[in-house]
Symmetry: C2
Subunit: 375 residues, 2 copies
């Protein structure tokens, strides 16, 4: 994972052909058009790779997480590496296809929401000058439709944070220098960049992380400036607490590892920084669980359900309707999404929908009516 | 579950025969003797039912947990019910067989430790007068070999807490009155008994629970005084925090639900009592995780392993050796138990062994050497 490819179109085409022959591709829809996506990784093709006829959009490869900073950097990086902020949002790939702008989610699904908002998110003249570019970015903010949480520095709606560029029919990313040039030239909203470091700079990187932690920001991504383009990510303890706080109501719906992993990350972050946990940190961790759950119980008492309410702005009504459809087809497998409202407000179509915590709703219904559990 | 049987020997014998025919029984050993045990429940036979030739020892049936006290009592109890303290230990059944005293664990395994200590735990003349009795009890204390935790009111070694009596070849328990009589007569160390209550008394029961919570005690068991002998249990919030504290080092070894269930119980306990969580409670919950894990990391740095050390006293050396064997045969499936020391001290053979948190040990070895995880 994370190795850079020389980018021969032939290479990726062969891989896609092999994946097709082995039935690794699934049909997906983009408006009236059908395309293929990989619902799992296949050799060097990442999950979410999408095939639009002869135009292949490589999947965005997963980035491994290190939980011990110093040792992790030493273990994985040989050359200097770029350090960038990790932003808490959802991963998209944005590109132009047949004169239309399209955004795909990590899984390779067409995203009506992001697609609708592309003109708000970036300077689309980019695709006039560079029609073969694929913008890899995080969309973050309280107005996005996928996550419960948003970074505090996006006060409303959504914002784009570009971190990579790819081209059609290629594996791997544009070299960081080229990427940064294009980001500058088109004034793309990008992730914070801290420059190039080596494993000798771990003190300095720790300082950056302490600062990010104080600002309640998520963490860093490291990208080796080399052919193999090794990558890693590392998150702050406050990001772990924030995650727990916003998802505590889903404590029985999410995999329990979601919570225990974050507690472990948090402790290792403190150890790394040479900190003992303070009474204040313990209290915030405790509060994250207890406030979140108390709210869930309160919501259940009032509404007989526990759900997270989303508010998303669309430019076009038909995209909001497509999002509802998308939710029905994609969402219903794992989570129940129920449409609540669609209204025109301040120049946008505002879609409101609920993500039901069905596990928590059912559990509270059972327990609060006196149900028994055998555990 | 929990229904009282009229106790016809024929009935349980038929059930055991059927279980045998359907290969639901597993051979087990008691010294040189073989017997059969049920590793899963079978119809009305609980898991842990044990068959010694023509002497059947019924399994101790699971007791359902309610997480909302008032509603739970109302839902499940029609008649008055006995209220007893729930003690945090391991469940045993103690009886006399072929002139020997024997103790079985919940799962129906012969327990060399408990068996060895029976004369310290109760007045064995009980079995002279009542040779057909089976004493159902919790063994609790820092000197027991199964759990990480012990109630604060058992300062050292172990103590017995009797809560039920059964007879050979019977399903169900002796009526509570008879049980209490025998407990008094033989001065058996029993669980605290609060008397009989009805669902109208939930205020009073809440008061008892608040008191138990303040004293860092575990909770209550409710037993309906009726033919069907319905039962339920309910635990305090402090007991949930204590559980998390002593097992945080096992956060990746134990099922993650272990932790998330306890957080949920804790919040529901507070809601029930009409309490908002205090800053102090949040801090204790946070500390439970963070202190426990910081200790685990510290232990790993020093010893390259994360383990819980047990110290158990035996009267007889051969029982300590049998315990080591028992650990090898039973323990090794799920957890690694490694014998550390056996010495004679103050009239007892003291066995020391470690329960390895192999998941945590492996994870820290990986992470602290810079390992990457994909999550």
């Amino acid at each position: 994972m994370g190795h850079r490819d020389q980018g021969h179109a032939q290479r990726i085409t062969e891989l896609v052909d092999a994946a097709r022959r082995q039935h690794k591709t699934t049909p997906a829809h983009w408006g009236q058009n059908e395309y293929l996506r990989l619902s799992d990784g296949y050799r060097r093709l990442a999950r979410g790779t999408a095939v639009f006829g002869s135009s292949i959009v490589a999947g965005y490869p997963g980035i491994g997480r290190i939980l011990a900073l110093r040792q992790g950097l030493q273990e994985h990086f040989r050359e200097r590496f770029w350090v960038e902020e990790k932003v808490n949002g959802y991963n998209v790939r944005i590109f132009r296809l047949q004169q239309q702008l399209v955004a795909l989610t990590r899984g390779g699904f067409y995203c009506p929401f992001t697609t609708d908002r592309i003109p708000d998110l970036l300077d689309v003249s980019l695709f006039e000058r560079h029609p073969d570019l694929i913008v890899c970015a995080e969309v973050a903010g309280p107005g996005q439709p996928y996550l419960e949480s948003a970074p505090s520095f996006v006060a409303e709606d959504v914002q784009l944070f570009v971190f990579d560029l790819m081209r059609f029919n290629r594996l791997g990313f544009l070299p960081q220098g080229e990427c940064y040039d294009i980001v500058e030239r088109f004034a793309l909203s990008a992730v914070r960049r801290y420059g190039a470091f080596t494993t000798d700079d771990s003190q300095q990187i720790q300082q950056i992380l302490l600062q990010l932690n104080d600002e309640q920001r998520e963490g860093l991504v490291f990208k080796e400036d080399s052919e193999r383009n090794r990558r890693a990510k590392y998150v702050t303890s406050n990001s772990s607490i924030a995650d727990i706080r916003v998802t505590a109501a889903g404590i029985v719906d999410l995999p329990p590892e979601f919570f225990t992993n974050r507690i472990l990350r948090l402790v290792l972050f403190l150890q790394e920084q040479g900190l003992r946990h303070s009474a204040e940190l313990s209290q915030r961790l405790g509060d994250a669980f207890l406030d979140g759950l108390a709210e869930a119980i309160e919501q259940y008492s009032e509404q007989k359900k526990v759900a997270h309410r989303y508010h998303c702005r669309f430019r076009e009504q038909h995209n909001a309707l497509a999002m509802i459809q998308h939710m029905d087809s994609v969402g219903s497998r794992q989570v129940q999404l129920t449409w609540q409202d669609l209204r025109f407000e301040d120049g946008y179509w505002v879609l409101e929908f609920d993500k039901l915590y069905s596990g928590m709703t059912g559990l509270l219904a059972n327990l609060l009516s006196g149900g028994m559990v055998y555990d």
